[in-house]
Symmetry: C2
């Protein structure tokens, strides 16, 4: 990669906050690196108007449209269940590589392992970055992350895709604004694209998941007073609970922030919407605390809601209701700011230091 990324994000036909999770995440936290979004169904509008992120960043119809903004990289802006590259997008990836644009992909299938794409990349002198490629080595988790001096906070969720990465990044930003030495630890492809490093937890072989997270936390803890670890999945999700628990036992957090999509009743399972009920806030909080006790005990200290489906009055009411039910501060960190969650983290760290003294 060149010193400065100028990214065109491929989100053909799906640039909405719900369907283009990676695109929206990168636009929200790295807006100055994105020069255009490609989605012919929304061309001519701005990302700000369509998804509330990236302000005036233009949406263009195709790679030619993006080329006028002089990008040096194409980012695959989706994260579908199963992780495959939609067949129709392959031609666009080839086109980008031929133009000499690097390709950033968070898919489970590694584009660099595709001989055809590798040939095109060589011809275009472009690089394919598979950010979901698992780290080298076979580390086995040992619970050592519980010994770090930094206060480790993990975001956990009632379901997938509820805002765990966003909550961690918003709390990090708020803590940094207050002068705290906070650091975000990425565990998913979007987080890794934003942070520039991390462990793609769900792509790690099961035996080494906790070990890989532990290693990342031990490395990140040097020079930080607070680590905000991005959680994945949900202990109640039949497909992804193993990933959730591996991160929990690898990171050994002291504090948990529960994340929930306000109003969502059903989980999407195996592509089927509403296949299983979303657990209640109380069930999800109790499950995460219980599972932490098998390793290092942690407490839920805050609730982060995604209130995208609610008007402002209903959103505030959802926060009040959640706070009352769990007895912790609750907010939509994107809509109302993360101040109360940042304060809860600072208080929890102080309590934990007093307990150690």
């Amino acid at each position: 990669m060149q010193d400065r990324r100028r990214i065109a994000i491929l989100a053909e036909g799906c640039f909405t906050p719900r369907d283009a999770k990676t695109a929206v995440g990168v636009l929200r936290y790295r807006p100055d690196e994105v020069v255009a979004v490609i989605d012919s169904t929304r061309a001519g509008r701005t990302t700000g108007a369509c998804a509330g992120v990236g302000a005036e960043t233009p949406i263009v119809a195709d790679l030619d449209g993006a080329a006028t903004r002089n990008p040096n990289a194409l980012l695959i802006g989706i994260a579908p269940q199963g992780g495959e590259l939609p067949a129709a997008w392959r031609a666009m990836v080839c086109d980008a590589l031929e133009r000499g644009w690097d390709v950033l992909s968070g898919l489970h299938v590694f584009l660099e392992d595709d001989p055809g794409l590798r040939d095109v990349a060589r011809r275009g002198r472009a690089t394919i970055h598979d950010v979901r490629r698992p780290p080298a080595g076979r580390p086995v988790g040992s619970g050592r992350a519980r010994e770090v001096d930094a206060h480790v906070v993990l975001t956990v969720g009632t379901d997938c895709n509820v805002g765990k990465m966003t909550a961690a990044l918003e709390i990090e930003r708020e803590l940094l604004r207050r002068g705290e030495r906070a650091r975000f630890v990425a565990t998913g492809q979007t987080g890794i694209l934003i942070a520039g490093r991390g462990v793609p937890a769900d792509a790690v072989v099961s035996d080494f998941l906790a070990g890989a997270i532990e290693r990342e936390v031990l490395e990140a803890a040097g020079g930080a007073d607070v680590l905000l670890v991005e959680g994945q999945g949900s202990l109640h999700h039949p497909g992804y609970s193993a990933v959730t628990l591996g991160i929990l036992h690898g990171a050994c957090p002291s504090s948990l922030v529960l994340c929930h999509w306000a109003g969502r009743q059903g989980m999407t399972v195996g592509g089927a919407r509403d296949a299983l009920p979303v657990p209640t806030l109380e069930e999800a909080a109790r499950a995460a605390e219980t599972a932490s006790e098998w390793g290092a005990p942690a407490r839920v200290i805050g609730l982060a809601l995604n209130t995208l489906d609610l008007d402002e009055k209903a959103a505030l009411e959802a926060c009040r209701d959640g706070a009352a039910r769990l007895g912790v501060p609750a907010t939509d960190p994107v809509r109302f700011g993360a101040a109360s969650l940042a304060e809860a983290v600072i208080e929890a760290r102080a309590r934990s230091r007093r307990a150690k003294d």
Copy 2:
């Protein structure tokens, strides 16, 4: 592989029940397929005398010694943390392949991906079987295993290496003896070597672990009334808890059999013995039942103890104590038979059928 396996098991320097888990497992459940064990430190003795399995099967000093018994395969008889091939053993693997013996390996590192070993195998017209290679595809778990007609039983443990595979196999054997249509579902390399199929759970990428187990259970359920699923790891083990939970949520058992190494106090973590305390029977049973409730609720219906460290009187006392504490039948299935556990499974299945009617 030829129609009939004649296996020499490589267990150089470590043929004890504690260190040669794979060797002992295959000898116990497939004794007629093993022609010799290679361990120069114990050569001249029998496997029965050294480890209580395989009766008069000879222990020999080297491959030449094994060759007199006319094997057609060499099995790597260890399962170390980390899964690497000890450097000193590589020459022996090469030697076996040159003799035209197939090589069976359950290591995390795939011998077939080693160009040097592949060349030797080609020359010797031998095949390398990496039984820990994960299955093809990217299945995501959906909780569908809860819908199978067969009664699904999963073995769970207080720790790694306590007898989860053995308990499942002993209960299967006892149920078959009683005319029940029972089937063992293997999830580890030794179990796969014994059963001839299965999912090497700890080698599957985290996102697809529950899905791979679910697929295996759905396939195995046809034609069986009881499935005995081999559990892995422990919810309390900081390295392997993700594997344990992925199997639990993928298999959706109705019944759990808790397994414990009687008298063991400390868990081996990252190579360090006794690094963390083993949970109590009550803690382990509660954890497994609680975690099952996030998916499909299951109950602990029996306790399987490994009493290898105890004399007979102490072993019987440990069973009585465990049964009283958990309120379920308890036995060492190898030492005292699995009758009480098989009966508990039959009763649980009957209860569950009545509940469905």
